[in-house]
Symmetry: C2
Subunit: 324 residues, 2 copies
């Protein structure tokens, strides 16, 4: 029910995921009437769909703690509960991020040694992909929170990208040692002294896409700002590209010829391709989709959840943290 579009996006995305993966089953949690209206009357995939009705949904601007206390039968609650009850292997939601994090933490519990879930996503980089966390679940972070993010991010890069000793950068306002707040410098000292982190020093926003490090650690405010800014820039640039190719008769002619190139470019850079962030540290797979994601994006988030389940991500991240 969550996100800007609800079942209009989540249902078609689910149908596509069912088509692509014959071993997938999907439990759609939400308003039965609204969901059914988005389902085709006859489809081979209906046999692998189950609807779990809920007529309560948590609004996008609801306070997370109030969502936990007062919305017990809400779709977000029931969806996470289905993972806690092992009725589902993973939960994917485009709903209220704070509510999803608080409810997941309450129902699924954290792995020992982890205090709060961190939102972690893959971003494109020159070297392939870069993992970044936290992206908005934790606004105020001390050095120990950041250290946990570094440990979990390293473990995830190991599990999901087969990187033996992933390099870690700490996001800051400059690369020089003296830059940043006291807290970020304390985190840097903690990172440097740990044998379990391949720490490479401070990185800046411009380093996210260079591929210089495999994992970028930051507090939720900086991570969220960086992620959303980059989405904004991509949209702005594509609009500028369209305008540039529309300026004259000549450029319009070129744009016709260049269409396959531009189309491929657009597809590979579309932020929807990278939609789906894992809430790391939980004893269960919970994937957060961007609230504004369309069917393509929500489909990617489902695929991301499947990858996490197949790789046994949560368990392996926990093992790595406990072994260290």
């Amino acid at each position: 029910m969550g996100g800007d579009f609800g079942p209009r996006v989540t249902v078609p995305a689910s149908l596509r995921a069912l088509k692509e993966n014959p071993s997938l089953y999907i439990l759609l949690v939400g308003d039965q009437a609204q969901i059914s209206a988005c389902l085709p009357e006859h489809s081979a995939y209906l046999s692998r769909i189950e609807i779990c009705h809920s007529d309560i949904s948590v609004a996008m601007d609801e306070n997370p703690k109030s969502a936990l206390r007062h919305y017990k039968g809400s779709s977000i609650h029931l969806a996470v509960q289905s993972v806690a009850d092992r009725k589902a292997d993973a939960c994917v939601s485009a709903g209220n991020t704070g509510a999803l994090a608080v409810i997941s933490r309450y129902l699924l519990k954290m792995y020992p040694g982890v205090s709060r879930p961190a939102i972690c996503t893959l971003l494109p980089s020159r070297a392939g992909e870069c993992l970044m966390l936290d992206l908005g679940a934790n606004l105020a972070c001390d050095e120990y929170d950041l250290f946990q993010f570094a440990m979990m991010g390293s473990a995830m890069a190991g599990v999901m990208q087969n990187k033996a000793s992933p390099s870690v950068g700490l996001l800051n306002v400059g690369e020089e040692e003296l830059k940043g707040t006291d807290q970020i410098r304390r985190a840097a000292a903690l990172f440097s002294s740990s044998p379990h982190i391949e720490y490479k020093g401070f990185v800046e926003g411009s380093d996210i896409f260079t591929g210089d490090v495999d994992v970028i650690v930051c507090d939720g405010i900086s991570g969220n700002t960086a992620l959303k800014t980059s989405e904004g820039v991509v949209r702005f640039l594509f609009q500028q590209i369209r305008q540039a190719f529309n300026r004259s008769l000549y450029s319009r002619f070129i744009s016709l010829l260049a269409r396959p190139v531009l189309k491929r470019l657009r597809r590979s850079l579309n932020p929807e391709q990278y939609n789906g962030a894992v809430l790391l540290g939980l004893q269960g797979v919970v994937v957060k989709s961007h609230g504004a994601a369309e069917a393509e994006g929500f489909y990617r988030a489902i695929v991301h959840a499947q990858r996490a389940v197949k790789a046994d991500l949560c368990q392996k991240v926990a093992e790595k943290i406990q072994a260290q």
Copy 2:
């Protein structure tokens, strides 16, 4: 002497500025030998250049307070001093940002009612341009700091862009009222209750480039992260565009035909075009150039300083703040 390249960039940029503007005079502050090595032997512009020698320069990783105390005769110190002494109308530096802010505040003083300088720059947006501050001079900001930024940013948009009542957005991790830290919500309350700010509510990183608001207010960490992330994305995208046009014989052929279009696009989106951030709130024009700026970028920073002087920016910002 500052930035990644020193006189190799600042001197050619100065020569270009002198060429473009016959009424401009430039005082080059730094190591005479290094500066002279970058100057042509014969040039009509030499008569409008004066060198102010200093053999001390503040390193990019020097602590700002130590730069103020222990580098009295440094190039950055003398450059700001020349504005304080009214020998120069403006100072442009690619040096250590923190040192520039601290030294400027000490030598030039703030306008009454302003506690600290804020770094403010223009960014491209669909609607033309958007002003954003602070971009890294103030890492920890309370609601009153943010309110001062909003006032100064509004005044600057009025003076430099002739906007009668510029709209102001407050950068946050979400647009809903409950989002963000207590401090940002307190700032929002302060903004809402002020008759002097055309406050439009929270904006996210993705809104910087949409042009929905004229001024975006944020703390230095978020602003710096957003700015540097956007530079990184632009560089990454242009590299992806190059790759896409290099993939096949057909796409290489198209890229030849599309060269004028792509070149114009590159020029208009080049972050160097937007280089040059004003340190607002000071009793004098100080413009900070990106440390990594090349001659094109540093030239833009000089032009920006000229625009600020011609518009009598500092005085007008002070008048607006005092009148309210």
